[in-house]
C-alpha cells in the first residue's frame, strides 16, 4: 500500500467512511445545492482522493472545504462514527500547508483570528470602537449615506452587529447564594465579555442562585475554536494550553461554559480540562435546577446550536430547564437541528450560503410564531438577531440562561 500524500490531513480517519450516504440529507450545504461534492461523503471522498494522489487539490476541492460549515450535523447521523469535524479541520490545515488557498484570504483570516480574537487588548479596543461608532451617530450617518455599498463584505459585517452592550467582566469569585452546593469554574470566553455581557452576567447569577460559588480565573482566554476550524491547529493548541493552565490549579467540580462553540472546542482534546467542561444547561440540569418561581408568560422556541447538539450531544437539558419556568410555553422549531449559517465566522467568509441557511431558519421562525427564540451560542445569537431584524419580525433572541434569570428575578419581586 502506498503512503498517503498528505502530511496534515488525518488520512486514516477518512477510511472510516464506507460511503453509505446517510449523512447527505443532514448536511445544510447538501440540502441547499444537492451536490455530492458539497456533502460530507463527497468531501471525505475528495480528501481521500487528494491523499491518494487520484485527484489534484484544485480550486473546486478547496472551495468545498471552506463551504463546509463544520456544524457536524453529519456526525450525529453517521453510523460509522466518522470524526468529520476533525477531518475537515485537518484538511484545511493541509490546504494551507500546500499553499492552495489565496494568500490574501489566508493572511486576512490569520490576522483577525491571531491578532484580534486571541488578544484581550485588541478585542477590547475593537469593541470600544464599535460602541463609539454606534453611539456617536456615525453608524446612522454611514448607513444613511449608502457609502458601505461599495464594500459589500464590510456592509454584511456591519449589518450583523447588534447594538454592542457595555463590556462586563466576570468577578474572580462570585459567592453562592443559600446553601453551598459546590464550586465551579466559569469559562468567560473572548467575545462574550465584550459583546454578550448580559449573557455572562445572567450565567453567573443563575449559578450563584443555584448554590454554586463561581470562579472565573484571570489567566483564561479564547478557546481557539475559530482557529481550529480555520485549520490553524498551532494557534488553537497554544490557546488551549493557556486555558488548561488557568483552570488547572483550582479544585473545581466543573468548568461551566455558556457558548456551545467554546464548549465543544474545550472538550475536543479529551484532556483533564475537557473532562470537566459542561455546558451551563447540561450542568444545571444534572445538578438539579432550583425551581424558578416568576412567571414568564412567553411563547418560546429553542433552536439547537450545532456545537451543543452535534458537538456535545446536549439537546434535552436546555429544553427541560425552560419547561421549568412558570407560564413559559415551549414550542418546537422545525429544522432546529440544522445550522443557522453563523458557524463561527462563516457568515463573514461565506455570506451567500450563510444567508440561504438563515433564510430557512427565519422561515421556520415565521411559521412557528414564537415571541422569543433561545439558543446557546453567541454566533447563533448574532445571526438569528440579524435574521429576525431583517425580516421585520417582532422576536427577541436570547440565551436560555437569560430567561432563567428573568424568571428568578420576577419571582423575587413578587
Amino acid at each position: 500500500m502506498a503512503e498517503p500524500l498528505a502530511t496534515l490531513l488525518e488520512y486514516e480517519k477518512t477510511l472510516d467512511c464506507v460511503h453509505c450516504g446517510l449523512c447527505l440529507p443532514h448536511c445544510p450545504t447538501y440540502q441547499e445545492t444537492g451536490r455530492e461534492s458539497s456533502s460530507p461523503r463527497g468531501r471525505i471522498y475528495a480528501m481521500r482522493g487528494v491523499a491518494e494522489g487520484r485527484i489534484e487539490l484544485d480550486a473546486a476541492v478547496v472551495d468545498e472545504m471552506y463551504l463546509c460549515l463544520a456544524c457536524r450535523a453529519c456526525e450525529s447521523a453517521c453510523p460509522a462514527g466518522v470524526q468529520y469535524g476533525r477531518l475537515v479541520e485537518s484538511m484545511r490545515a493541509e490546504i494551507d500547508e500546500r499553499g492552495a488557498r489565496s494568500r490574501a484570504s489566508r493572511f486576512f483570516q490569520r490576522l483577525v483570528l491571531r491578532r484580534v480574537v486571541a488578544s484581550h487588548i485588541v478585542l477590547r479596543l475593537v469593541a470600544l470602537a464599535l460602541r463609539l461608532y454606534q453611539r456617536s451617530g456615525l453608524q446612522r450617518l454611514l448607513r444613511a449615506s449608502n457609502l458601505l455599498l461599495v464594500a459589500p463584505r464590510l456592509r454584511d459585517a456591519e449589518q450583523l452587529l447588534p447594538p454592542v452592550p457595555p463590556a462586563w467582566r466576570a468577578p474572580g469569585v462570585t459567592p453562592a447564594e443559600g446553601v453551598l452546593r459546590g464550586r465551579v469554574g466559569f469559562f468567560a470566553g473572548c467575545l462574550m465579555p465584550e459583546f454578550f455581557g448580559p449573557v455572562n452576567r445572567a450565567t453567573l447569577r443563575v449559578l450563584a442562585r443555584n448554590g454554586f460559588e463561581v470562579h472565573a480565573p484571570r489567566g483564561q482566554g479564547c478557546c481557539g475554536a475559530l482557529h481550529a476550524h480555520a485549520g490553524d491547529a498551532r494557534a488553537a493548541e497554544r490557546l488551549h494550553a493557556r486555558n488548561v493552565a488557568a483552570f488547572g490549579a483550582d479544585d473545581l467540580d466543573a468548568v461551566v461554559v455558556n457558548s456551545a462553540g467554546c464548549g465543544a472546542s474545550l472538550r475536543d482534546p479529551g484532556d483533564a480540562l475537557s473532562a470537566r467542561v459542561r455546558d451551563v444547561s447540561e450542568f444545571l440540569h444534572a445538578a438539579g435546577l432550583r425551581p424558578p418561581r416568576g412567571a414568564v408568560p412567553l411563547r418560546v422556541a429553542y433552536d439547537d446550536a450545532c456545537h451543543l447538539l452535534h458537538g456535545q450531544r446536549v439537546s434535552a437539558a436546555p429544553r427541560e430547564l425552560l419547561r421549568m419556568i412558570p407560564g413559559l410555553q415551549l414550542v418546537d422549531l422545525p429544522g432546529t437541528q440544522d445550522c443557522c449559517g453563523a458557524a463561527g465566522i462563516y457568515n463573514l467568509t461565506q455570506p451567500d450560503m450563510s444567508a440561504r441557511l438563515l433564510r430557512r431558519k427565519v422561515d421556520a421562525i415565521r411559521r412557528t410564531t414564537p415571541q422569543v427564540v433561545v439558543t446557546g451560542n453567541p454566533g447563533c445569537l448574532l445571526q438569528l438577531s440579524r435574521g429576525v431584524r431583517d425580516a421585520g419580525l417582532d422576536v427577541e433572541v436570547l440565551h436560555p440562561v437569560e430567561l432563567l434569570e428573568r424568571s428568578y428575578a420576577v419571582g423575587e419581586s413578587d
Partner: protein, 481 residues
C-alpha cells in the same frame, strides 16, 4: 475534456431550466461511485434539473450529441445502478424534491423523484398516514431511486416492495418524450407498463413524478427483541413464527458481529452483547390482535431457546431498535475501510444451512463477515469488510461475492432481494437465466431505449458470445487500486 464534450457542457449550461451543471475533474471524481464502491466510472458532467421540462431538455441535448445519460438520486444504491458510464451526463434528481400533492381521502401522494423516502412519511404523518416501503437507507434514499430499484426494506414482509405502492409514474423516455404509466386512481387497463418500469434500474427512462399509495397508521405497533444463543436457533424461530400463521410486519436478524458494530455507534440500541443473534419481530394491527400474537411470538422464541424476549418499553425504545437495525450497514465502517453489502434471497427454511455455508466460505477466504437479514423474506445481507487498497483482499472479495450467489442459487434462491442487479450482478444473470429467458428483457429494453443511451450497460448482460466484443458495455471498471 474533448471539444465535443465541452460543447455539450456549454449547451447544458445554456438551458434556462437547468439550475446547475458540474464538469470539473475533482467534481466528477466524487460522483464515480454510488453506495457500491466496487464499481467506478467517470462522467463528463452532472446536470441538476428541478422540473420535468429540464429533464427533457437535458435528455434531448444528450441525444443530439450522442452521449449516454445516467439518472441518480442520493447515490445510496448498492449494485452500481448509478455508477456513471465513462463520458456520460449524470442527471442528478436531488433538487426535484417536492411533494406535489397529497390526497388524504384516497390516500395517495404525488411526489418528485428526488424526495427523500422518509420525508414523504414526515409530510403525511399528521394525517395518520405513512409510506410503507422502508429501505434501511430511507433517511437518505429517494423515491425515484426506490422506484428504479423496486426497493424493499424490513416491512416488505407484510406490505410488499415498492411496486405495489406505486400507482402511476410520469416518465421521461430516452427519446425525451413525456408519458404517464399507470393511472393515479389505480384503475389502469392494458399492459402494466408501470410494473415494467418499476425495478428497471434507470435503464428505460427517468421518473419525474410518482403517485404512490399512503397507508393508514396501524392502531398498535409492538416490537419484540429476542436474543438467541445461536444464529441457527434464531432462524428456526423465524420459520416457526411464519408456519404458525402469525403475520409479522417485520422479522429481522442481526448476528453478533453486527450487534457489536451497532452498539459501538451513535445508533446503539441496547442490543444484548452476550447474544449470538438478535431477532426483531414487529407486530401491528388492532390492540387485541397484537396482544394475542405477542404472547404467541414469545412462546415460539422461548421454545427455540431464546435467552431473553423483551418488548420495547415505549415508542422511543422501539425507534432505537429500528435505528440500530437501519444503521447497521454504515456501522460496519468501524470494522474496515471498505464494505461490500451483499444481497441474495433463499427459501426461508434453507436459511440456517445457507448462512453456515456462506460463513465457511468467508473463513476459507480469510474475509471478515457480518450477517444482517430480512429473515422473514429469506433475504440475506452478508456484510463483507475489506480494504480496497489491498489488491489481494479485493480479489478475494469479488470471488466471495460470486460464491455467495452460487450457494444461494444452489439452495433454490435468486441473485438479489432488493438491491437490484446494476453493474454488480449483471454478468451473473446467466446463473439464473438462459439466453432465451433474457431475450424478452432485451426486447423490452429495445422498445424503450433503442439507442441504448439511458444508463447503458446495466442489468441485462450481453448474450454470452458477445460479452467480450462490445466495448460500449465496458464503460465502467471494477476497482483496480
Amino acid at each position: 475534456m474533448d471539444p465535443r464534450t465541452g460543447e455539450l457542457v456549454d449547451r447544458l449550461r445554456e438551458l434556462p431550466s437547468v439550475e446547475d451543471v458540474l464538469a470539473g475533474a475533482s467534481e466528477m471524481f466524487v460522483y464515480e461511485s454510488d453506495g457500491l464502491t466496487l464499481t467506478r466510472g467517470r462522467a463528463a458532467a452532472v446536470a441538476f434539473p428541478s422540473t420535468t421540462r429540464a429533464v427533457c431538455e437535458i435528455v434531448r441535448a444528450c441525444n443530439e450529441f450522442g452521449v449516454p445519460f445516467v439518472p441518480r438520486g442520493a447515490g445510496t444504491g448498492l449494485s452500481g445502478g448509478a455508477t456513471p458510464v465513462d463520458g456520460c451526463v449524470v442527471i442528478e434528481c436531488a433538487r426535484m424534491d417536492q411533494v406535489l400533492s397529497i390526497d388524504a381521502v384516497n390516500r395517495t401522494a404525488t411526489v418528485q423523484p428526488g424526495l427523500v423516502n422518509a420525508h414523504l412519511t414526515d409530510a403525511v404523518s399528521g394525517l395518520g398516514l405513512h409510506y410503507a416501503p422502508d429501505p434501511s437507507s430511507q433517511t437518505a434514499c429517494t423515491i425515484g431511486g426506490n422506484v428504479a430499484e423496486n426497493s424493499g426494506g424490513p416491512h416488505t414482509l407484510k406490505y410488499g416492495t415498492t411496486s405495489p405502492h406505486v400507482l402511476s409514474l410520469e416518465v421521461v423516455l430516452p427519446d425525451a418524450s413525456v408519458v404517464q404509466l399507470g393511472r393515479r386512481d389505480a384503475h389502469a387497463v392494458g399492459y402494466d407498463l408501470r410494473g415494467v418500469f418499476v425495478g428497471s434500474e434507470g435503464t428505460l427512462g427517468i421518473v419525474t413524478a410518482a403517485t404512490v399509495r399512503l397507508m393508514p397508521d396501524p392502531e398498535t405497533v409492538c416490537t419484540l427483541l429476542a436474543s438467541f444463543p445461536s444464529l441457527v436457533s434464531a432462524c428456526e424461530a423465524v420459520s416457526t413464527i411464519i408456519a404458525a400463521g402469525i403475520v409479522a410486519s417485520a422479522l429481522e436478524l442481526l448476528d453478533d458481529k453486527t450487534i457489536d458494530a451497532v452498539e459501538a455507534s451513535v445508533f446503539a440500541a441496547g442490543y444484548p452483547r452476550n447474544a449470538r443473534a438478535v431477532l426483531l419481530v414487529e407486530l401491528d394491527g388492532t390492540d387485541a390482535a397484537v396482544q394475542a400474537e405477542r404472547a404467541r411470538v414469545r412462546t415460539v422464541c422461548q421454545s427455540h431457546g431464546a435467552i431473553e424476549v423483551r418488548v420495547a418499553r415505549d415508542e422511543q425504545e422501539r425507534e432505537a431498535f429500528w435505528r440500530g437495525r437501519k444503521g447497521a450497514f454504515g456501522a460496519m465502517g468501524r470494522r474496515a475501510p471498505d464494505l461490500y453489502v451483499h444481497d441474495a434471497v433463499v427459501p426461508r427454511t434453507r436459511l440456517p444451512e445457507v448462512v453456515e455455508a456462506i460463513t465457511r466460505a468467508a473463513e476459507e477466504r480469510n474475509l471478515r463477515i457480518a450477517n444482517v437479514f430480512h429473515a422473514g423474506d429469506g433475504n440475506l445481507h452478508p456484510n463483507l469488510s475489506f480494504d480496497r487498497r489491498d489488491a489481494d483482499e479485493l480479489a478475494r472479495i469479488v470471488d466471495m461475492g460470486e460464491e455467495i450467489l452460487r450457494i444461494c442459487i444452489e439452495a433454490g434462491g435468486v441473485l438479489s432481494g432488493e438491491h437490484g442487479i446494476g453493474l454488480e450482478k449483471r454478468d451473473y444473470m446467466h446463473m439464473l437465466y438462459t439466453d432465451e429467458d433474457l431475450e424478452p428483457m432485451r426486447w423490452v429494453h429495445e422498445a424503450f431505449d433503442p439507442a441504448d443511451a439511458c444508463n447503458p450497460g446495466k442489468v441485462i448482460p450481453q448474450p454470452r458470445a458477445c460479452t467480450e466484443s462490445n466495448p460500449r458495455h465496458r464503460g465502467y471498471e471494477k476497482v483496480t487500486f
